[in-house]
């Protein structure tokens, strides 16, 4: 049963619990009070979670997200180190060169866009 906590921490890391709940509630166009009513909890609990003053358990988060009309989907995927490789390459450059490469990328995108229009 160790798999579930790892998967949960992975998704929480990508989008913190408070952000997930806030996003779910915003998409459902629900007030904190309405969501609390649907989930049979106190509005103050929703407020605490959404302001990161309370870290909900997975079960609690799942219940609140469900009350907003969504399922919380958790899955294991192979680790993708693409970002890490790009970050390491960027950190190896002096600051000025990081911006130079940004400028080059933007020029490239502009030329591609212009050639396609």
């Amino acid at each position: 049963m160790l798999v579930v906590p790892d998967a949960v921490s992975a998704i929480i890391e990508q989008m913190p619990a408070w952000a997930l709940l806030r996003e779910a509630r915003a998409r459902a166009k629900l007030s904190q009070r309405t969501l609390a009513g649907r989930a049979r909890t106190a509005q103050s609990e929703i407020a605490r979670i959404e302001t990161a003053r309370q870290e909900p358990s997975y079960a609690t988060l799942e219940r609140l997200v469900r009350a907003a009309g969504f399922d919380l989907k958790v899955e294991l995927v192979p680790h993708d180190d693409h970002d890490e490789v790009l970050i390491d390459a960027m950190l190896a450059l002096p600051v000025g060169e990081r911006l130079d490469s940004l400028e080059e990328q933007n020029e490239f995108f502009a030329s591609v866009t212009e050639s396609g229009s």
Binding site: A19, I87, G96
Partner: protein, 153 residues
């Protein structure tokens, strides 16, 4: 002019590989500083840019001056040098006085600039929320980890 670089260019300076096409700053809101900002905006022919209408620009009703900024929390602009966004109070932060406390000094060629700390950039994105900004958080958190590993501020 006193300002802190925020947004995508700040992330790039700090080591993010994400590409951005606009330059975001958070200026000090002292009147003399706003006068300098206004002067620069006039020099670069800054005009309002509306979301979804990036190819059009709307001139300000009069030349930029310290009063132009009123109660704006941010202004999206188009200039001779590209998109330029001015954030007087980036979401989740207290503005310049807040950001300058943890700002990082960076040398860009011969110029020394102040760049918002990555923790503050993350705080800003979290506060803005929404899929666009929240989807950028995993990359920024990875960058935070990498910078910590390398003892970078």
């Amino acid at each position: 002019m006193r300002f802190v670089i925020v947004g995508g260019v700040a992330e790039r300076i700090l080591g993010s590989p994400r590409v951005t096409d606009d330059f975001d700053i958070c200026p000090a809101i002292a009147r003399t500083n706003l006068e300098r900002l206004a002067s620069i905006l006039n020099e670069v022919d800054a005009r309002f840019r509306a979301e979804g209408l990036e190819l059009e620009a709307f001139s300000p009703p009069e030349a930029w001056n310290a009063n132009s900024f009123g109660s704006f929390t941010s202004i999206a602009l188009t200039t001779r040098f590209g998109f330029f966004d001015v954030w007087f109070r980036p979401d989740g932060t207290g503005g310049y006085d807040d950001l300058i406390r943890n700002a990082i000094d960076a040398e860009v060629g011969p110029i020394s600039v102040k760049v918002a700390h990555l923790d503050d950039i993350v705080r800003n994105k979290e506060a803005i929320g929404g899929p666009k900004y929240l989807s950028q958080l995993p990359l920024l958190r990875e960058l935070q980890r990498r910078r910590r590993e390398q003892d970078l501020p």
